[in-house]
Amino acid sequence: MGSFILEQIVNGVITGSMYALVAAGMTMIFGVLRAINFAHGEYYMLGTFGAWLVISKLDAPYAVSIVAGVAIAALIAALIGRLVMQRLVGAPFQAGVLATIGVSLILQNAVILAFGGGYKVFEGGWIEPVQIGSFGMAQQRIVLVVTALAVFAGLEWMVRKTRMGKAIRAVSQNIECCHVNGIDVESVVRRTFLLGTALAALSGVLTAPVNVSVYGGMGESITLKTFAVIVMGGMGNVRGTLIAGILLGVVEALVSGLIGLQYRDSVGFVALLLMLMFRPHGLFTQKARF
């Protein structure tokens, strides 16, 4: 029993790092735009589909498919950033909700229309088990956790030290002052959006060998779980997102192991509802930041 629970916790940490990667992007986009991206899960799906496409059609190795998947998703995101997202600067919240729901409908159904709605098998990934202590774990899972930690360290460095990071923080604090100081708000929004969606796509490609199945509607549940993670982490708080993502992953794993697999996807919703009710500013900050 003890080792079973430990195994569930380890699995939870791995799934949680995936949630954290996706959510980091959404929380940064929220920071600069004050808009929730209802299409965020679709970029996760696009990344996975891009990788599946180059593997199944071009017989590319998995490492290449990671790059290709992220690149394909980023290309689409660049287009949407220019056409849709940058126009949402200063727009009322309903505009953000409706525009991103529209983008989500277009992306999801375009993929279903092009490739069919059925489940596809993702062949590839580093699935050789590695023996650590008493239990084995696929290499892929280790790659996922290590990548997530590296990405978060990189984000932390970027937000604090680089010009881009400073601009992101400035835009999320006061857009008018950015205009006064000559910061190109729309360009910052575009680049943040690109970075955020690329992280979602990366997370999609890295988890695909673990989840195995790929389908057009896979982004929807990811979007909802991401809401729970960014609210727990505190909207706009990148570091909080990592801890919140792992927390959600671990609780989900324990619930599915101890109560039943079918309740797994409800955990995110219950967490979201409880957080919104009692601590809308997140687990880690004292005051509402936004």
Partner: protein
């Protein structure tokens, strides 16, 4: 009288007459439709009229209290399941199922609304999206009640008195009658003093509260009423399709209802009607596949947000005003 920018332009005196005239013409055209249209086009109109009911509900909560709810699809599905379960287990007549579906949807909206309505703006939207996911999970996993993915099939056809409704034209008149009655109820509601209180809450909640309007109670009641409208629609849907499965909780339904209301024009009675005929009847009649339809909806949403935030209803309103002016000159 001096005219400034904020002087409201006086509506032409015959406007109400023209409005009612247009409505009567449209109704007459619909009533005669089965004489001219084939069953497939009648089916498209039936689906549009069924979606009109949850759309009235969303119009009420979004247009008159300003809250964007994605949960209409949940109450639509609840209405469908309530009707189906009642009809299958107790053999209750159609009219009873119809009202039971509305009542159950409203009752379930109460415990959902109490936490959700404390949230504002985007948080409320996220929360209602969560309800959709929970409804899917419950419908799939509570197999004792819902038979899971297999769904409930073989519902008895509705009976009114001694007539069994089984032909498409019969369904058409039945659903037309329910849709018209629901629309009249909706108009009566928003013209009542309660309706004016709702508008006050939408325009300025703090001010409304300071005038002694119990805003929280109003929002909760509106949420329940909008659920009841959606439940009615779900009940009609179940009796028309005679099959109910967890697919009724797909985002497709909530999104379609959203497009109808926003596309037509939020907070206007003709808005939902125009929206449902344009976005449901036309796409259904043209036999556009669901995926392509959702892609079109996505583009429509983007167009609405960036180009026509008022939807299509203002165009129609300008048309009726023009007609009214024309009538006066002649």
């Amino acid at each position: 009288m001096s005219v400034t920018l904020d002087t409201p332009h006086a509506p032409p005196p015959r406007l109400p007459a023209v409005r009612w005239g247009t409505a009567a013409l449209a109704l007459a055209a619909l009533a005669l439709a089965p004489l001219f249209l084939g069953n497939y086009y009648l089916h498209a109109l039936i689906i549009a009229m069924i979606f009109l009911l949850p759309a009235h509900g969303l119009n009420l909560i979004l247009g008159y209290t300003g809250m964007l709810s994605l949960a209409q699809g949940v109450f639509f599905g609840l209405g469908a399941y309530t009707s189906a379960l009642l009809a299958m287990h107790f053999g209750t007549p159609f009219v009873v199922n119809l009202f039971a579906a509305a009542a159950v949807a409203a009752l379930i909206a109460l415990p959902l609304g109490i936490p959700a309505l404390r949230l504002r703006a985007t948080s409320f939207v996220m929360c209602t999206l969560g309800f959709v996911v929970i409804a899917q999970t419950v419908a799939k996993n509570w197999t004792d009640l819902t038979r899971g993915d297999m769904g409930l099939s073989g519902l008895a056809r509705p009976r009114i008195g001694d007539i069994v409704i089984s032909q498409i034209p019969q369904y058409f008149y039945l659903i037309l009658a329910v849709a018209v009655l629901a629309m009249l109820a909706f108009i009566a509601l928003i013209r009542s003093p309660a309706g004016r209180c709702m508008v006050a809450i939408r325009d300025n909640e703090t001010l409304a509260e300071s005038l002694g309007i119990p805003t929280w109670t109003y929002k909760l009641v509106v949420f329940m009423l909008s659920a009841a409208f959606a439940g009615l629609g779900g009940s009609l849907y179940a009796h028309y399709e005679t099959v109910v499965s967890p697919l009724v909780f797909q985002m497709y339904y909530s999104n379609t209802i959203l497009i109808i209301v926003l596309g037509g024009g939020v907070g206007r009675v003709p808005g939902a009607i125009i929206g449902s005929f344009l976005f449901v009847a036309v796409t259904e009649a043209l036999r556009i596949t669901p995926e392509l339809r959702l892609i079109i909806y996505g583009f429509v949403l983007l167009l609405l947000v960036f180009m026509f935030p008022q939807g299509l209803a203002p165009l129609v309103e300008r048309g009726t005003e023009w007609l009214a002016r024309l009538g006066r000159k002649a």
